[in-house]
Symmetry: none
């Protein structure tokens, strides 16, 4: 059973709205074990929607078309479906009654334009609308099928869950489950990871289940996605567990988390478990690390706060950084120690460097010093990044948090 | 000239990642006056990418394929292009040299896997890579063309701007220009703005050029987009100028900026022009405002820094907030004054409140106090927001910056 998605809306093709519906449907189909290889976006134009549906039906058993079921003249998915089915649109009185009732309950007269929503391609089965005025449609085409659902996200998700996925599962007849797990890494680039994991990739090439894929995600590091297909969810999880273990055996501590875990949430957990609190001193990252830490739910248990010492005088006067270069190991160490003292925390983490676009004190753009004050040790590390100002700031924030993660993992006891 | 987009990546079809690249390219094509009717997403599979490219080439003059140019074995866009062109992949030594140089500059050996990125379908023209290791490709197919660009957003946007759009414009030969301008507002919701602008919307309904559209954008406020279509760029700009003046006459100071301006960049300009510096004290926003301010290029001219006083003790000990409720007007005022003193700035801005998910000191989630210390006045304002933790933090950061913007605009002299 193969299904694909056609998302309808000129605003999607013009890029005024990002199409999140297709992504949601894609994930839902994968969870249900239904293969889904293509997704198409098309504007509000009856010929083009018809063309997109014909292409989709030529390569998939089922198509979910999403959007274009509203009451306004630019909503033409119904017309396109009638063309593909080669039938007329007929008015469904029951649907019309339900739309009229809905307006009555809200104490408003039904605009004439809403009558269009009761028009149904002959031979299509109506999916009752529970959240909006637009009913869904199941349109059989021989052994294939098109489901039409509204484009409003909460109407769409409800209808796909209630009517589309169960119908697809029944048609598919107990298919397999496809599940992914993402191992999140920091410290190596994509090609270095691929090289280290080459033995795994070669092994999997022989029997392509599970599969491994890499995804470079900027300040979120490189993601290694494991995807497994199996008859049941339990079987799929067992495949994921085995492959995760194999990947971790190779990558070790470079894997910082799984799925939705972030470097900051992992650092928070390590700090919380150790009963330690964190104070920050940020210069070039300008509050980005503080913002990331405070975003973690429950961070008040371990995050004391930070000093954003953007101006040099703030470093000197508030953090007791010695006069001299503020982009140096000495400055980073003093900032980490200063943060710990001023914020009364157990651990101090600092970042100073040059985000660009101009060099500073003759130091090139991308130069970053990260300081860590932990226990009796106060030390700084020199890092280098390339990219624009925004990228350098973001990469530096992740690198600093990851350095702290390693220090916490390597702590004796 | 018709162009369409094919976005490559299994993570896109599975819904693990929302495809924002296609939306960006769609918007860019519209701005360039290039028709774009379809967008397709396809997984990392050479047969399916080939199939998607063939469908796209069957209905459009140009195709932009985005992603699948990386160094790992699942990156197979190059192979799919060679199949569509019916040619072999050949190694481009110049591309290889450039990739090798890139690694050399970073002091790392080039992994063998990166050699794949130097393979080019015979007859394709290489688009030099400036931000990553993946070069782009221009693949001519008779009177049609496929452009291949990387999937990493900042690499993609740079390459599309520099090489793809100019080439498309040249091929398309003088059509109409479609240009948009975004007026950015803060302080009213979408329906209130629509109501105030009803007279403009009605006037434009008679002659639909330009058009007005609203886009709610969270912490970036509500955007009012004016779109004009005209034979030349100068004509289109004149239409935009006239409509911008009409909208500003109605919305006044609620318009904080145009296009890429942000509340923080506008605040920075106001501060810079007045010769004032800013210090922050953030509790619930946890460094988000500092991060936004320091992201503005040139912010070192007006941004002194901030104190992220996440723990109450930091408020008491460092900022001299009086003991008692830390979610109060008194605390916000003391924080603003404390920030100004500790950071030696001219202006102090503070935020304290409850981001949730739990209430704090019996204060409901979404309660926010913003304090401003400017000249002789130190004052706090109570605001309320709804939403989840992340939304409330973001909205509070924008509201605080916007409050400061109004104070600076209303300053005597």
């Amino acid at each position: 059973m193969r299904a694909e998605v056609v998302a309808v809306g000129t605003e999607l093709v013009l890029g005024d709205v990002v199409d999140t519906n297709s992504a949601w449907i894609g994930r839902r189909l994968a969870e249900a074990g239904i293969d889904s290889h293509f997704q198409t976006k098309v504007g509000d134009n009856v010929e083009r929607i018809e063309a997109a549906l014909r292409v989709a039906l030529g390569r998939s058993d089922a198509v979910i078309v999403c959007g274009g079921l509203g009451p306004t003249p630019d909503d033409v998915t119904r017309e396109a479906l009638a063309r593909v089915m080669d039938v007329d649109l007929v008015r469904d009185e029951e649907v019309l009654d339900r739309i009229a009732e809905r307006f009555e309950r809200r104490g408003r007269p039904m605009p004439a334009s809403n009558e269009r929503q009761a028009e149904v391609p002959k031979g299509a089965i109506v999916i009752e609308q529970r959240r909006g005025t637009a009913p869904g449609l199941v349109c059989p085409l021989g052994d294939r099928v098109v489901y039409a659902v509204p484009g409003v996200p909460h109407e769409m998700t409800e209808m796909v869950e209630r009517a589309v996925v169960p119908d697809l599962e029944q048609r598919g007849g107990g298919g397999a489950v496809i599940v992914s797990r993402v191992l999140r890494t920091w410290g190596e680039d994509e090609s270095a990871l691929a090289e280290q994991l080459a033995p795994r990739i070669e092994a999997l090439d022989q029997a392509p289940n599970p599969t491994l894929a890499f995804l470079a995600s900027g300040m979120d590091g490189i993601k290694v996605r494991i995807t497994a297909k199996a008859p049941t969810m339990a079987d799929a999880r067992a495949v994921l567990d085995a492959e995760e273990a194999a990947v971790r055996a190779i990558l070790g501590q470079r894997v910082f988390g799984v799925d939705d875990e972030t470097i900051e949430s992992v650092v928070g957990t390590l700090l919380g478990d150790a009963g330690l609190t964190l104070g920050l001193a940020e210069s070039m990252t300008g509050g980005l690390i503080a913002s990331r830490c405070s975003e973690v739910p429950g961070s008040s248990g371990w995050f004391r706060g930070g000093v954003v010492s953007y101006a040099s005088e703030v470093k000197f006067d508030l953090l007791d950084v010695p006069e001299g270069s503020v982009v140096s190991a000495t400055a980073a160490e003093a900032m980490a120690a200063g943060a710990r003292r001023v914020l009364e925390s157990d651990v101090g983490l600092s970042v100073t460097g040059v985000a660009g676009p101009e060099t500073q004190e003759g130091v090139p753009v991308g130069t970053v010093f990260v300081g860590v004050a932990l226990g009796d040790e106060v030390a700084a590390v020199l890092l280098r990044f390339s990219g624009d100002r925004t990228s350098i700031r973001r990469l530096a924030s992740s690198a600093a948090l990851d350095l702290l993660r390693h220090r916490l993992l390597d702590r004796p006891g």
